[in-house]
Symmetry: C2
Subunit: 356 residues, 2 copies
C-alpha cells in the first residue's frame, strides 16, 4: 500500500498523535493524514525492513530459494456504491491487490479474500460481486486460494467489504521500488488521470450532471510484464490510487530523495474528467486511479518501454509526463501550461471518501 | 478457513441458493449455513485445487523450489466487544491467521493486516489493538509486512474490523490436511473447550452473572512445531473455532470419509464453562475456541505426540478424546457419560454472532 511510504518521512515532520484524537474520514483518504496515522500508530509497532521500505507490497525472502523473493500485499475495499460504471467492489478488490504485488516487479500468483457481509445483503448482490472477482482474477491470471466470510448485524457495514491479500514471486534481478528513482529518469504514465474517482462520484449522483465516465479499474500485471521484458532499467512502478498521482509522486520523491518535475501539458486527462473536475473544484492530480501506473525509467530505455506499453491493452495511451531531477529533493514540481512552476503537495486529509 | 471444507460435501446435499435470499447472521456462524454459502456462491466461481482441498489454509506450489510449498490463509475479524477477558480483536487477528497457516504443517512467516476503521474510533482504542497485535506477532515469531487502512463513516462499521492474511512455508514432507484422517487414528485435543466463546459472551454482559472465564486466544505454531518434531504421522491438524469442535470434526469426517468417535468423559471442559453452558442451554462442543487444536495422529505415535504437546505452554492439558473409525463414514458420534452413543451434527445456522 502506498500508505507505507510514510516510513521514509522524517519523524520530526509530523506532530505527535494526540491520545484523545479520534479517527476521521481523512485518516483513510491516502494523503498526509493517512501517512501520519501509519507513521505514528502502525509503524512503531510493526516495524520491519519490508514495511519500512514503504512500497505498495512487501518484498520478502522466501526461505525457499535464495535467488528469489516473495512479494506480498493487502488492500481493504470499502467503496460506495458497490457498483459503478466500469467496475464494482469485486473487480476493485482483485485488481487493487494484483497491482500492488505487480508494482514490485513481481508476478502475482495467489489471492486471498476476506468478506465482511452486512446482514440483509441480497444474495444476488453478493453473487454479482463474486462473478466480477472471478472474471478479474481470470484476466489477471491469478487464483483465489483462500477466503473467509463474516456477517455483521444490519447497520454495522455498508453492504459488503472485501479485503484481499496477494502473493507473487519477484522477477529474478528486478530491483524496483519507490526508493529507486534516479535523477534524469523519465516519468511515464500509462494513461489518463482521474477516471476512477470521477466515475464513482458520478455513480453516487454527486456530479450534478449525467456522465459517461467509466472507472479505469484493471489488472496491470500483464502491462508490467511487457515493460520488464523491454527494459532492465525500470526503477519505480507505482499505481496512483487514493490520493492520486500527486500523492504517489510525493511519496516517491521522499523515498528516493529526488525531485520530480511534471509537465502539465503532457498529463493525459479525458475532457469529461477535466470538465467534471473544473466544475467541482477538484484537481485531477489528486483523484484516484485504479488501472494506471507511473514508472520511473532510465532515459535511454524510455522509448522502448513506452513502445512496449502502448502495445498492451492498458498501456495504449502511455506517455512521458515528466522527469526525475536532482533538486529540490523530496519535492514534486509542475511546469504549468503557462510556463510557470508550482509545488505539487501531497493530498492533505480527505477529498473523496470511500472510493476504493 | 474451515469454511472451505464444504467443498467436499456433495453438491446434492444442499438446497440451491435462492436468488432472492438475503444474508443472515447464520451465514457467518461457521456452521452448515456458512458452508452452503461457500459451496453455492464462492466455490463455483473461484474453484481451484487449493480451495477445493477444504483446509484452513491453502497449500500451494511456490514456483520457487520444487521441494517446498507455501501455505496461505486469511481471516476477517469482527468480534464484539473489541476487548474481552484474555484477549482482544488484535490478538485474535494475529493468532487466527497464524494458526490457520500452522494447521497445514507450515511455519508461518509473514502476515498482512487490512484495517477498516469506523469514523470516530478513539485513537487510543486503535493503539491498544495495535500494541496487542505487536505482542501476539512477537510471540508467534511472525512479521506483519504489509497493511492497509480504510475509514468508513460513523455507523458503517463497529469500531474496527481487521482482516489478516498469512504466508508460511510447509515443512518438507508434511502431508497434513482435513482429508488425511485414517481409521484407527487417535483424536487428540490440546486443551479445554469453549473458553473463547463464553469469555466473549461474558464480556457482552450476556451471561447474566460475573464470570472469570478467559478467552484461550493464542498462537499455536510453536505447539505444532513440537508435535511435528515428535512424529511424522500426524495426519490432521485443525483449530475448532467458529462452530466449535463438533463442526470441525464433522468437516474432517466428511473430507476424510471416515467416522469419528468421541468419548464424552474425556472432553476437557472447565467447570465455569460447563456451568455457563448448562445455564444458557449451550453445548460446549459448538462453542468457539481460539487457542486449541484437534489432531488426528497414528495410534503408535499418540503417546509421544501427547508428551511433546504437554511440554509446551498451550498444550499442557492435551489429552486423547476419541478415535477415527471406519464407519459410519462422514459421521461424528459421541459415547456419552451414560454409555449411550449419539450423533454429533454440524452447527446449523447461528449460535453466537460476532465472536471472532
Amino acid at each position: 500500500m502506498s500508505d507505507q511510504s510514510v516510513t521514509i518521512e522524517g519523524a520530526t515532520c509530523a506532530p505527535p498523535l494526540p491520545h484523545n484524537e479520534q479517527i476521521v474520514m481523512g485518516h483513510g483518504a491516502g494523503g498526509r493524514m493517512s501517512h501520519q496515522l501509519i507513521q505514528k500508530a502502525f509503524l512503531p509497532a510493526f516495524d520491519n525492513p519490508a514495511l519500512r521500505a514503504g512500497d505498495d507490497a512487501a518484498s520478502l525472502e522466501s526461505n525457499l530459494h535464495h535467488a528469489q523473493r516473495l512479494a506480498i500485499s493487502t488492500d481493504a475495499h470499502v467503496v460506495t456504491p458497490l457498483f459503478f460504471p466500469g467496475g464494482d467492489i469485486g473487480r476493485l478488490a482483485v485488481c487493487g491487490t494484483v497491482n500492488d504485488v505487480a508494482m514490485l516487479g513481481a508476478k502475482p500468483l495467489y489471492l486471498t479474500a476476506g468478506f465482511i457481509l452486512e446482514e440483509g445483503l441480497p444474495m444476488e448482490t453478493l453473487q454479482r460481486v463474486i462473478a466480477s472477482m472471478k472474471s478479474a482474477a481470470e484476466e489477471a491470471g491469478v487464483q483465489i486460494v483462500a477466503g473467509d466470510t463474516k456477517v455483521v448485524q444490519k447497520g454495522k457495514a455498508d453492504g459488503l467489504y472485501i479485503t484481499t491479500a496477494g502473493v507473487g514471486v519477484v522477477r529474478a534481478g528486478a530491483k524496483i521500488g519507490g526508493a529507486q528513482a534516479k535523477a534524469d529518469d523519465v516519468v511515464i504514465l500509462s494513461g489518463s488521470l482521474g477516471d476512477h474517482g470521477i466515475a464513482v462520484l458520478g455513480a453516487r449522483g454527486e456530479l450534478g450532471f449525467q456522465s459517461a465516465i467509466q472507472s479505469d479499474v484493471a489488472p496491470l500485471n500483464h502491462l508490467i510484464e511487457a515493460m520488464l521484458d523491454a527494459s532492465n532499467n525500470i526503477h519505480v512502478l507505482r499505481d496512483p490510487t487514493r490520493g492520486g498521482l500527486a500523492t504517489t509522486l510525493n511519496e516517491i520523491a521522499t523515498q528516493s530523495n529526488v525531485g520530480i518535475l511534471l509537465d502539465e501539458t503532457a498529463l493525459p486527462i479525458r475532457p469529461e474528467v477535466g470538465a467534471a473536475c473544473e466544475m467541482l473544484g477538484f484537481d485531477p492530480l489528486y483523484i484516484a486511479n485504479e488501472g494506471k501506473l507511473v514508472a520511473m525509467v532510465a532515459r535511454e530505455d524510455a522509448e522502448s518501454v513506452l513502445k512496449a506499453m502502448q502495445a498492451t491493452r492498458y498501456g495504449e495511451d502511455a506517455c512521458i509526463v515528466g522527469e526525475v531531477t536532482d533538486a529540490p529533493r523530496g519535492r514534486v514540481l509542475l511546469k504549468t501550461a503557462l510556463g510557470s512552476t508550482r509545488v505539487v503537495d501531497m493530498l492533505s486529509g480527505e477529498m473523496l471518501p470511500r472510493i476504493c
